[in-house]
């Protein structure tokens, strides 16, 4: 009972503080912008811990954050091996291949308006399909190793990146292209010096969407068969043994990896498209 009371007291206190900070004079500063969401996250964790303890929720239903933290620190080697298998081998290789292929195809079909008109609706349609369902097929074709995970990731990231890249290549303005023509620039020079840079904000939009998809694809593909290593394998195996702290530990790693991956791509975007208004406004 005391835990529950503590949870709600903490929540009320933190929320009052947050409300004061958010509506106070310092609301716009960087510090407050960081403090308020962190405090909210902390509140959620404290509430979780206290409510689970207060209601005596068994560990097989919901472990507390401290139990999960202990599990993470105890099984760092396993988590690292799983991370390398799923993220480094499966997701990253598939992401690189899929995105490169999509940008290449976009450049290739860019010369033919006919193909563009045909491929864009098909690509848009395919981007809405549950492509993750191809996982069992690709696991059959490429075996249980990381190659099949990589293939699923390629299939998942290809269409979103393709659609964005095609849109991006059409983004340079008539005026700018005419200017290139007056310089008597060749097709490839125009592409390299004008149209690809102009397409970068769009391409990066696709690349950012693809980061999450890549991780999802790699993890879900492991549900359909994998060697005895990997985040998806560990999740489904430990769920079967009702060892929930380990499952949560893997999920924490997956969440951190997903955010870090997205963050890195966003940082590269910032460096590449520093000239774009959406980047300048923030600085």
């Amino acid at each position: 009972m005391i835990w529950i009371a503590f949870a709600f007291l903490f929540w009320a206190g933190a929320w009052a503080l947050n409300a004061r900070l958010a509506n106070g004079p310092a609301a716009g500063t960087r510090a407050v912008r960081l403090i308020v969401p962190s405090l909210f996250g902390l509140t959620l964790l404290v509430m979780w811990e206290a409510v689970v303890r207060g209601l005596n929720v068994p560990q097989v239903i919901l472990p507390t954050p401290t139990e999960i933290a202990v599990q993470i620190s105890e099984s760092l080697p396993i988590l690292w091996v799983d991370f390398v298998q799923t993220f480094m081998k499966g997701a990253l290789s598939g992401y690189a291949i899929g995105c490169a292929a999509a940008v290449l195809v976009a450049v290739l079909i860019d010369r033919s308006p006919f193909l563009q008109r045909g491929l864009l609706p098909v690509g848009n349609f395919a981007a809405a399909l549950p492509i993750v369902g191809t996982a069992p097929i690709l696991v059959m074709w490429f075996g249980f190793g990381w190659q099949s995970k990589s293939a699923v990731v390629v299939a998942m990231v290809f269409f979103p990146v393709l659609v964005n890249a095609v849109e991006g290549l059409a983004a340079s303005e008539r005026m700018q292209r005419d200017l290139m023509a007056t310089y008597s620039a060749s097709y490839w020079q125009t592409l390299w010096k004008l149209r690809l840079p102009a397409a970068m904000p769009f391409i990066f939009n696709g690349l950012k969407i693809a980061t999450t998809l890549a991780l999802i694809g790699a993890i879900v593909a492991e549900f359909f068969g994998s060697p005895i290593v990997g985040m998806g394998f560990r999740i489904s195996a430990e769920v079967g043994r009702l060892n929930l702290p380990m499952v949560w530990a893997e999920i924490t790693v997956a969440a951190l990896a997903g955010s870090a991956f997205y963050g890195i791509v966003a940082m590269i975007e910032k460096a590449v498209t520093f000239w774009h208004p959406s980047q300048r406004a923030r600085g």
């Binding site: 509506n23 969401p37 809405a128 549950p130 993890i219 999920i251």
Partner: protein, 287 residues
């Protein structure tokens, strides 16, 4: 016409590639069989054999079409072999979860737009959550809920709701904020209350964003329901068909389930798109 011809060309090219792929990938088995029987096959014989193997590596398009036709029209819809039956099981979980997730998402977006503290504390997490592979928790939700006695439709709906929740929150916050300062100032000069501003300006202005985020949410909800069917041991639903197909090497079954899922996804996105077109037209917004 301007659009139909190119699309058909691309689709035809994909089908042609598919046929070529299935000849190439299935021929290995044909050649092995022939070598075992000490036969030599001509090219046409190989091609003919790759077109209707029982367990092809890559089923030819017409085999998948036949499997799909058999599954949809060849059985009573209540039969366990009917794809309509399985699709309905998945779809019902998807729709329930989608409704819950989208409803809660809109509510939270309303809160975020009207409360500064909520905006600053919840919004960064809602955005960050889109970079997290949430789907990874699906097996856990299913198993944990089964261990406390909740099975069937509801656990899958929870996953669908969770997946469709965040795109709707982010999209709707953007939508409710889309009226510009000029329009908001105008309503202030009318001395409109916050509720009036919401119903007469923010809510109508958010409609295009609403439908766009619903489309994303519907696709995500379907994926959630399919993945939610995996750890229950392949009882019913499209995800179960995928899993049992991969257990028994029934590739035609996997491909038909996959296409059924694609049809369901396309139907949902299509319905939302039609609603969007009608609504926006009646509201006088250009599409």
């Amino acid at each position: 016409m301007r659009l139909v011809v190119p699309i058909l060309t691309v689709v035809a090219a994909i089908v042609a590639l598919w046929y070529a792929g299935s000849v190439w990938m299935n021929s290995q088995w044909t050649l092995d069989q022939a070598a075992r029987n000490k036969q030599t096959l001509s090219f046409t014989q190989i091609v003919r054999d790759t077109m209707d193997q029982k367990r092809p590596v890559l089923p030819a398009p017409h085999q998948v079409a036949e499997g799909l036709w058999q599954g949809v029209f060849g059985q009573a819809v209540t039969s366990k072999r009917s794809l309509v039956y399985h699709a309905w099981i998945t779809l019902s979980a998807t729709l329930l979860g989608f409704a819950i997730g989208a409803g809660l998402g809109v509510l939270l977006a309303v809160g975020i737009v009207h409360n500064r503290a909520m905006d600053m504390s919840v919004m960064p997490w809602a955005i960050a959550s889109q970079t997290i592979p949430i789907l990874a928790i699906a097996p856990m939700i299913i198993v944990v809920m089964a261990s406390i006695g909740v099975t069937g439709l509801f656990p899958k709906a929870v996953i669908s709701a969770y997946l469709s929740f965040f795109p709707v929150v982010v999209g709707m916050v953007k939508g409710f904020r889309s009226p510009d300062a000029m329009q908001l100032d105008l309503l202030r000069t009318y001395s409109a209350s916050r509720a009036q501003t919401f119903w007469k300006l923010r809510f109508p202005a958010s409609m295009p964003y609403f439908f766009t985020s619903l489309k994303i949410a519907a696709a995500a909800a379907l994926v959630g329901a399919i993945v939610g069917e995996l750890p229950t041991g392949a009882v019913a639903g499209l995800g179960a068909r995928l899993l049992s197909g991969s257990y028994y090497g029934q590739t035609v079954m996997i491909w038909s389930a996959l296409f059924m899922a694609a049809i369901v996804a396309a139907a949902m996105v299509g319905v939302i798109g039609a609603l969007q077109a009608v609504t926006l037209k009646r509201m006088g917004m250009r599409q």
